[in-house]
């Protein structure tokens, strides 16, 4: 996982729920690329159309509240955001994203401090976010050790495969 990420931000509001991130009517789709094309279509279908790989999703409080659908995290990854920054995150969405190797970085107040299109530089390990235009440096929360260990492995799937290999070798 890259711990230093930079990109242009797309700023969303508070309580963006999983129905807005990934509407229920698309849940029967299982192809990840197709899921990515419908990301945030509950807010506006234009977001995924205009999104450039490397842009960064920024949101207010309680991002990802609502359903446990993993499609929400799959959609964001496949739309091309390599990190999400928000004032706060909902719990199941947090687990889903970390499991899939998508870092979610809590940065209190961020949604009111950056504007659409601004370039930011994030240093996950240092816990700092720099807004390039203004030079302002914001503090970000550090992820817990367990979440970091999953992200460093590239998600829970490689970790589990390793665990299964070891189990088999021991038998």
């Amino acid at each position: 996982m890259d711990t230093k990420i930079s990109g242009k931000v797309i700023v969303l509001g508070n309580n963006i729920d999983t129905d807005q991130i990934y509407p229920g009517r698309f849940l029967e789709i299982t192809n990840a690329e197709e899921i990515g094309k419908r990301c945030l279509s509950g807010v506006s279908p234009e977001i995924a159309e205009k999104f450039q790989k490397g842009d960064i999703v920024v949101a207010g409080t309680n991002f990802g509240c609502g359903s446990s659908r993993e499609h929400a995290a799959i959609a964001i990854i496949n739309m091309g955001s390599s990190v999400v920054l928000a004032d706060s995150f909902a719990r199941i969405f947090f687990r889903n994203a970390i499991n899939l190797g998508l870092p979610l970085i809590t940065c209190k107040g961020i949604s009111s401090k950056v504007k659409d299109g601004q370039l930011v530089e994030l240093d996950i390990e240092a816990g700092e976010l720099t807004v390039k235009e203004t030079g302002e440096v914001l503090k970000t929360d550090k992820l817990g050790d367990y979440a970091m260990s999953i992200l460093e492995a590239g998600g829970i799937k490689p970790l589990m495969r390793e665990k299964m290999r070891k189990l088999k070798a021991d038998q």
């Binding site: 309580n15 807005q20 509407p23 029967e28 995150f89 909902a90 719990r91 889903n96 299964m164």
Partner: protein, 418 residues
């Protein structure tokens, strides 16, 4: 320790656990609903071979039951194949109902257990003194492989509810009141313990309504100390022996909120946020297109009875569709025996077979652009039940039925007067 901490300690082989620490805990039952075929995919992507315990995992087909599209039929097909290959003891196909109703009915939920399901509303099972929590597909796949899951030991918030509301004010009104105060992120990563004289006397169905909506405040799980009615319910059904867990005297909650509901009026969550809660009487006149009684929040026998009591020998407004979807086959059969479904059909209701219905716009009654639905379900997010330009008001079954009658959002206590 709190009862929730004791459950986590017991299942992680520990004497004590502390708030904030990460524990690896055994899962007593794992349940997958039909939105989550990714669970099966993730299981194989992680080199999974055998489900850890064939008696402790089950699929429930509810969101797409029966399948409305070829794609969802394919999901069911692949899940059935997996369940068969793994020789899972329990399986709930399209003839069962909503997972959170079906699981307790089948005796798979009991006090002191950890139930993990691929559904956010798994907090419902706090009603039985169980630790129920929702996860996504890949988390679930790790459980199927190992029987364990990592948990952060949560802070516990006490929500103390005292008093007995007047007739016509239902558990849904009570939980909407709480939600309006704590807000949609009031309990993120935390657990909510509901206490107080109201909860102590509350039956199984009402308890399930309130714990169900704990997740709408962001809660990881909910808890209620089981009362006699709960113990009678689970004693008749539980497939395993269980032990009721108690919170230690003097346990310090991270926060306490107090509500008095004796004078509570019917509540409504207006579009498009679950915490946008008002006294129903304070909301301006709203014309409705659809009224929906159903789901894991509001589709139980008590809810259907409340609707039948209001609509008996009456007709719904001409422009309204009233959908009634019992939460399970057991609920549907009881509703038929008691005559409620007959009465509701006579009043003009459309009855569908048990399942989630249009709650998440998967099928059976989605709403068009510009339409308004008043619903006993749990979410009014933009586009939740269909078009992004539709509107959802969340209310009690009594309010939904009274509104179907007049065609406008209506207080069930002042039947038709408003």
């Amino acid at each position: 320790m709190h009862a929730i901490e004791k459950i986590l300690a017991k299942n992680s082989g520990r004497e004590l656990v502390e708030t904030g620490e990460i524990v690896m805990a055994k899962v007593d039952f794992a349940e997958i609903n039909d939105l989550y075929l990714q669970t099966v995919y993730s299981f194989y992507e992680m080199d999974g071979e055998k489900v850890w315990d064939k008696d402790r995992a089950a699929f429930v087909f509810d969101h797409y039951a029966p399948a409305p599209t070829i794609a969802s039929a394919q999901i069911h097909k692949e899940m059935r194949e997996f369940a068969r290959e793994q020789d899972l003891t329990y399986h709930f196909d399209v003839n069962a109902g909503v997972c959170h109703q079906v699981m307790p009915e089948a005796g798979l939920v009991y006090p002191g257990m950890i139930l993990v399901a691929t559904d956010s509303h798994t907090t419902t099972h706090g009603a039985f003194g169980a630790l129920g929590t929702g996860v996504g597909a890949t988390d679930m796949a790790t459980i199927l492989m190992t029987g364990e899951l990592w948990f952060r030991v949560p802070e516990v918030i006490e929500v103390r509810i005292d008093g007995i509301p007047k007739h016509g004010v239902m558990p849904k009104d009570v939980v909407l009141l709480v939600l309006g105060k704590l807000k949609a992120d009031g309990a993120v990563y935390k657990a909510i313990d509901f206490t107080g004289t109201y909860i102590e006397q509350l039956g199984v169905a009402g308890r399930m309504v309130i714990c169900n909506m704990a997740v709408e405040m962001g809660a990881k799980t909910a808890y209620m100390q089981p009362n006699d009615e709960v113990l009678e319910y689970v004693s008749k059904r539980a497939v395993r022996p269980f032990e009721v867990v108690f919170t230690d005297d003097g346990y310090q909650y991270s926060e306490t909120y107090h509500f008095e509901v004796t004078d509570l009026e019917p509540q409504v969550a207006a579009p498009s946020s679950v915490d946008n809660v008002f006294n129903l009487d304070d909301v301006e006149k709203v014309r409705i297109d659809q009224a929906f009684v159903g789901t894991c929040t509001g589709g139980r026998l008590e809810d259907i009875q409340a609707a039948a009591d209001i609509l008996r020998d009456k007709k719904i407004a001409k422009w309204v569709r009233l959908l009634v979807i019992p939460a399970s086959t057991e609920v549907m059969q009881e509703s038929i025996k008691k005559g409620y479904l007959q009465e509701l059909m006579d009043a003009g209701a459309t009855i569908s077979t048990p399942g989630c219905g249009p709650c998440l716009s998967a099928h059976e009654g989605v709403i068009a652009s510009g339409e308004v639905c008043v619903s006993t379900s749990n979410r009014n997010f933009p586009g939740r039940m269909g078009s992004t330009d539709s509107k959802i008001y969340l209310a009690s079954p009594a309010t939904v039925a009274a509104s179907a009658l007049t065609g406008y959002l209506t207080n069930p206590i002042e039947r038709g007067d408003k």
